[in-house]
């Protein structure tokens, strides 16, 4: 790493701490988005039928939603603390842009969710059925909108648009809010991430239902069978849509982060008509080209192509890593010169009647602007730094896609059995599989984030700022201390949540009566 005065361990600890916090936070978010959708669908059944069974069923899932919601609330705030302490250069450099979606998220989350969550839990006897249903949907929508703004912020780090660097303030300033909020990367990421979260919720609902059937809990039997069916429908739709949105995301990644795609595929030397590796040595012909370009013969650059530079099919040339580094160094030098000349301009204003200093300053500014797209490359010492961890990307991508495919088969099979009116409650292997798939759904979801974040390395902001330049000049000991503190805190919180959740599931709802139309 290119670190002249920074403790290298501080970078690793800061990254590890951020990863730990983000992974922990992401345990709660997908369940909130997924179970939220299913509880709203179940309450809609109550609204349409007036059957008390659906009301109690909705209340049951809302209790589990509430436990997860309470445990997850504010865990994301810690990430913002870490920005200010561990990633202060990053925070200053892009805070004006990155802060906007985070602030909107905070306001939306606070007002929308706190209002409608209260009506959802306290309002059953206080408001009309329609208003209550609207509150439940708006609770879910509020959580989804929160996710939107967080994903907009993350997408901007992957694909920085709608901004301009101000060398006077050393900040990137937003030039177009719409470009940031509606960037194609953000739209793809939102669709893929939120829809894949529905899978986590569906797997959870199916698993809880399966547990009641395994335990032969008669009071909850109807709840389990009905919820299992709804969970499977939501899960199948979500799993298929996640595949489609994943395909779209891959194309966006191919266009704006080709190195990430090459690392995902461990593709060193690219070309036309590239196959997609299932594992090393086994591949689906033409599939990678199709995934990346929608054309079976499309060109996909490999890691070596990207480092050496290559010509795209539209004739545009992608510069080599060496050229990008040189241009990045020019940008950094021009920035330094500009700032010194600006100081000189004030100090020697009386002694420079011809405006030599001003002209020199403007020239440096022009050089900076011309080379700003490669600014971050100026901090890269060795081209090898530009290659993300290939093994992590390769396997995390396969875990994500593999489980995604498994979920399609799983939900489709459950719905097939349901359609054929088979007694699922007697199929113990399927019920156990449903429970085993809960951790798999989380592994799948977290793997998606591993691909997204490891694939972006070495950048915090793609091409603009590498992690080595983003991190604060802070001792590794302080960051390591908080890392272990968090690990203990998060583990305790997770244990508490799982304990409360399991107790509530075991408690079930003994007052549930079968629906009017039977099971």
């Amino acid at each position: 790493m290119n670190l002249l005065s920074i403790d290298p361990a501080a970078i690793d600890w800061a990254r590890a701490q951020f990863a730990l916090t983000a992974i922990y936070h992401w345990l709660f978010v997908p369940l909130t988005l997924g179970v939220g959708l299913i509880m709203a669908i179940i309450e809609t059944k109550y609204y349409r039928t007036g059957d008390a069974f659906w009301r109690r069923a909705a209340q049951f899932w809302q209790r589990l939603f509430g436990i997860n919601f309470a445990m997850g609330v504010a865990t994301g705030i810690i990430l913002e603390f870490e920005f200010g302490t561990n990633w202060s250069n990053y925070s200053w450099f892009v805070g004006d842009i990155f802060g906007a979606p985070l602030a909107i998220e905070g306001i939306v989350a606070f007002f929308m969710e706190s209002t409608f969550v209260a009506v959802m839990y306290f309002g059953w006897e206080k408001v009309s059925r329609g208003f209550h249903l609207a509150s439940t949907w708006l609770t879910w929508l509020g959580a989804t909108i929160s996710a939107w703004w967080i994903l907009v912020a993350n997408s901007w780090m992957q694909y920085p648009v709608g901004c301009e660097f101000n060398p006077d303030t050393m900040r990137n300033e937003m030039t177009s809010f719409l470009d940031v909020a509606l960037s194609p990367f953000a739209i793809d990421k939102f669709c893929h991430t939120v829809i894949s979260s529905w899978i986590v919720g569906a797997v959870f609902v199916v698993a809880v239902s399966a547990w009641y059937l395994l335990k032969k809990r008669e009071a909850e039997r109807a709840l389990a069978l009905k919820s299992l069916r709804i969970g499977a429908i939501v899960g199948l739709i979500a799993a298929v849509l996640a595949g489609a949105t994943g395909h779209k995301s891959a194309q966006t990644v191919a266009a704006v982060q080709p190195m990430k795609l090459a690392a995902m595929e461990a593709l060193y030397d690219g070309g036309n008509a590239q196959g997609l590796k299932i594992i090393e040595g086994i591949e689906v012909p033409y599939a990678l080209s199709f995934m990346a370009t929608n054309d079976f013969n499309g060109f996909v650059p490999g890691i070596n192509d990207i480092l050496k530079g290559y010509t795209r099919e539209d004739g545009t040339v992608e510069p080599s890593a060496q050229e990008k580094r040189e241009r990045g160094q020019m940008a950094i030098t021009a920035l330094e010169n500009y700032r010194r000349l600006k100081a000189d301009e004030k100090t020697f204003a009386d002694q420079d009647p011809d405006g030599y200093i001003t002209a020199a300053k403007e020239k440096q500014l022009a050089i900076l602007k011309e080379n700003m797209p490669y600014f971050g490359y100026g901090y890269i010492k060795d081209e090898a730094e530009l290659v993300p961890p290939v093994a992590v990307n390769f396997w995390a991508f396969r875990v994500m896609v593999g489980f995604g495919g498994l979920f399609i088969l799983f939900f489709a099979y459950i719905l097939f059995l349901n359609w054929r009116k088979k007694d699922i409650s007697s199929m113990k292997w399927l019920l156990w599989l449903s429970i085993i798939l809960v951790p798999c759904a989380y592994i799948c979801s977290e793997s998606g984030w591993l691909v997204a974040e490891f694939g972006r390395q070495p950048w915090t902001i793609q091409d603009m700022l590498p992690v080595a330049a983003s991190v604060s000049d802070i001792g590794s000991g302080a960051v390591a201390t908080t890392f272990w503190l968090f690990l203990a805190l998060f583990t305790t919180m997770l244990a508490v949540e799982i304990n409360i959740m399991l107790k509530q599931i075991k408690k079930g709802d003994p007052l549930l009566t079968p629906p009017q139309g039977g099971e």
Partner: protein, 89 residues
């Protein structure tokens, strides 16, 4: 519906809701403890504002410029005269 009755109903919604909580009491207790740990202990003792602590007020941009400058190898060149620009190819 009058405005007053709306606010009364809204207050009653929260008041009755909080009073009748069962599982919610445990969850609120956990939320309270968690918020205390996050905002009082972690924020104050473990997550200082790094730039605020290390940069002079109003000189934050200079501080960050210096920090970024330190990360380059070799360090950026000094200002140059017209036609003697090391930036240019």
């Amino acid at each position: 519906m009058s405005k007053e009755s709306f606010w009364r109903r809204a207050i009653n919604l929260y008041y009755d809701g909080f009073r009748q909580m069962t599982l919610g009491r445990t969850l609120w207790l956990i939320i309270g403890i968690k918020l205390f740990v996050i905002f009082v202990i972690l924020k104050i003792f473990f997550f200082p504002d790094f730039i605020g602590q290390n940069a002079e007020k109003g000189k934050e941009a200079e501080f960050v410029a210096g920090e970024l400058s330190k990360r380059t190898d070799p360090p950026p060149a000094l200002p140059v005269r017209e036609g003697d620009n090391t930036c240019q190819e």
